[in-house]
């Protein structure tokens, strides 16, 4: 078909941040589907909790302290996470490098505590269905934690190479910030569900 040029695109920028960038939408899509997974796992827990009048099935109460420490660490990490985001928006390479190191450490710290959180549940996955779902919920979140920490560390290393100083890489940092928010926010309902909802009744 014959063509008739009517618009010129040459002045457009070559990268954009946040909702302007396709990667942001892709990240949002994965959050939506993973969030659905979390919601369904939590729904399965609540379904069983409501099916059995003696829920917790005579299991001992879990020790909430490791979980609470994880929660505090995750919430505290949101502050440097968003400071990092600001630097990434301004494409400031040195503060971004420092911020990425800080966020890698803030990712590893809750993982270390998580190691002590599983035994603090005071039940095994194969004891009864209550124990199974506790391990499933905690395991599901731990998988996300490990994945995102791994991703953060790789990106940190990348920022120190010659590939670091580019618009695309700063966009990656922004998406990493965005995904970390998701990892933190999904933890809050799971924390309440594991440690506090059974104490209500």
């Amino acid at each position: 078909m014959n063509q008739r040029p009517v618009t010129d695109l040459s002045a457009l920028p070559t990268f954009g941040r946040g909702p302007r960038s396709p990667t942001w939408w892709g990240t949002l899509g994965f959050m939506a589907l993973e969030g659905t997974g979390f919601a369904l796992a939590a729904g399965a827990y609540l379904y069983l909790a409501m099916s059995w009048p003696n829920w917790r099935l005579s299991a001992p109460e879990p020790n909430h302290w490791p979980g609470t420490v994880v929660t505090l660490l995750l919430v505290a990490s949101l502050v440097p996470n968003h400071i990092l985001n600001r630097y990434a928006e301004h494409c400031a390479i040195v503060p971004v490098r420092i911020g990425m190191i800080v966020m890698s450490l803030f990712g590893l710290a809750p993982l270390v505590v998580r190691w002590f959180e599983f035994p603090a549940l005071h039940i095994y996955w194969d004891t009864n269905a209550y124990g199974s779902l506790l391990w499933v919920l905690l395991g599901l979140h731990t998988t996300h934690l490990i994945t995102d920490v791994g991703d953060t560390i790789v990106l940190t290393v990348l920022m120190f190479t010659r590939h670091g100083y580019s618009g695309r890489r700063f966009g990656d940092v922004g998406d990493n910030v965005f995904y970390w928010d998701f990892v933190v926010l999904t933890w809050i309902p799971i924390y309440l569900l594991i440690y506090w909802v059974p104490r209500l009744g």
Binding site: D8, G37, G150
Partner: protein
Amino acid sequence: MSSADLTSERDLPPKRETASKGDLAPEPDGPRDTGMDDASLHRWLTRAWRTPPGIIGALSSVDHKVIARRYLITAFIFLCLGGLNAVAMRVQLSGPQRGLIGPDLYNQLFTMHGVTMMFLFAVPIVQATGIYLVPLMVGTRNIAFPRLNAFGYWIYVSGGAFAWISFLLNMAPDVGWFAYVPLSGPEFSPGKRADVWAQMITYTEVSSLAVAVATIVTVFKQRAPGMSLDKIPLYVWALLVTSFVVVFAMPAVMITSTFLILDRLVGTHIFNPAEGGDALLFQHLFWFFGHPEVYIIFLPATGMVSSIIPAFARRPTFGHLGLVLSLISVGFLSFGLWVHHMFATGLPKLGASFFTASSMLIAIPNGVQIFCWLATLWDGRPVIRTPLLFVFGFFFIFVIGGLTGVMLASVPLDLQVHDTYFVVAHFHYVLIGGSVFPLLGAAYFWFPKITGRMMSERLGRWHFGLAFIGFNAAFFPMHLVGLWGMPRRVYTYSAELGWGNINLFISAGAMLFFLSFVLFTFNLIHGALKGAPAGDNPWDAGTLEWATSSPPPSYNFTRIPIVTNVEPLWAERETLPVATGLRVDVRELLISTVAEAHPDIREKSATPSIWPLLAAIAVGATFLYSIFTPWAIVWGAVPIALTLVGWFWPKGDPEDEE
């Protein structure tokens, strides 16, 4: 060809300020398409966008058309295999007490038939059609996240191969395509068969989730300038809504299959009532996916119908907005119906009534769609060609399936015919009528675009006639034999029941239906080799995929088209308005705004890479190993992590750096 051959003075852009701009990242530059003649443009774009030669090049391809072709062919092979399962079952059932197939093999056959048709044929083929057509219809050069798309294909192939190799090893799942516990649980299904079901689900769902995200982002961010929400083709709308349904439904079946494999492998008790679990929870989780699944298969088919009808009715679709709203409301309502698969489980009455009402409610938007299509045909000047014949077949068969669906939505009738051949007849009318007939029409419609050649019209008409008669002969009598009480999933029946003659008739119809696919296969191969050349737009249709050559070049469009109408090629008959200013030496495409599709960013698209294949091998091997030991997840994490790092680590291409 070196770049020196390509570069002429005029191709290069004016010198621009590319040095540091304060604290902004660098913006490298290269030659643009502005003012370039067609021959040099073609040379430049081909060099930037082609799939590299050789076997490694082919395995590294990220071209959406190449991946989609592989998907289509693979899904067609699985259709043939699933069809052969059905033929074997029909031979066994053609008379009472036939001894061809024993109960154990029969259980594997009907499970593999269902699993293959649902997970390895129906969902992949509608997504594959979308992978091919959506980027062309929205006027872009590749799908969003092309490497993720390639990864999805490799995972799908390994999942399908896993299931079918298990079948050859007499290890195929034998618990029905929905694998209810407690039958599929550790107590009643020792061995590995149910694990094969669970992990095959995981493979195929990973793949369709990846494709769904890529499709959503392509539609949201890569539409040609001017393609605001009201100018998006109905087919693209259908794929968009479907992808959202996938995103919210597929995690449910992954959770289900993961819970099942945990119960079987590491001794959790999620579905074990003796230890505080619940068997019905499995059904809730499965059908929370399973019902939307029907619409995942059906909605893209409605999009195909909405593309075929205006092309042959010679007028734009009547009620474009109504059709879009119907698609969206069907997408939402599809999540409110799952319990109607569980009416026989003794649910509370109020719950059952709610799901009866919602099941009847979904007939309304579906009815709106049918009336809009009929109005389009009524007001147009229909040209009856093979694609339209299949649309007529779809109307007839799908409406019957919809009517039995409304019948089944009422609890008393459902209880009476639960697990009988009436249900088998119903869902084959819905799925084959609602999805396979439109797909066959779509095959005739878009085959010229994909291959550059036409399929035979005469054979097409024969194919339609055989398929329509064969289908109805095979499946209509199933309503009757179901009402007489014949249960599904029985490998034989005794002569005194009097079901022999009607089953022989059904089997004969099934053979006829099978023959229609043999004819179709012949027509496909004959068309691809010897069909008449098609030209760019053999049907004189109005959407953008017809604006480029058949088959389209690796870069899809020489320049990004500009959209002024919902049928852009009918609005601009003489010349196509286009945008210029993109770089031609790298894979650059246009990112636009979500609602209005204003041009926003010139973004780079990923280059070919072998890493998605390597990552898929690592992931696939981990899934396979995990049916034997839970430690597979720990050990498998290492190669998965390494291949993912290899995938994302920049290789120094200009595409990686911006």
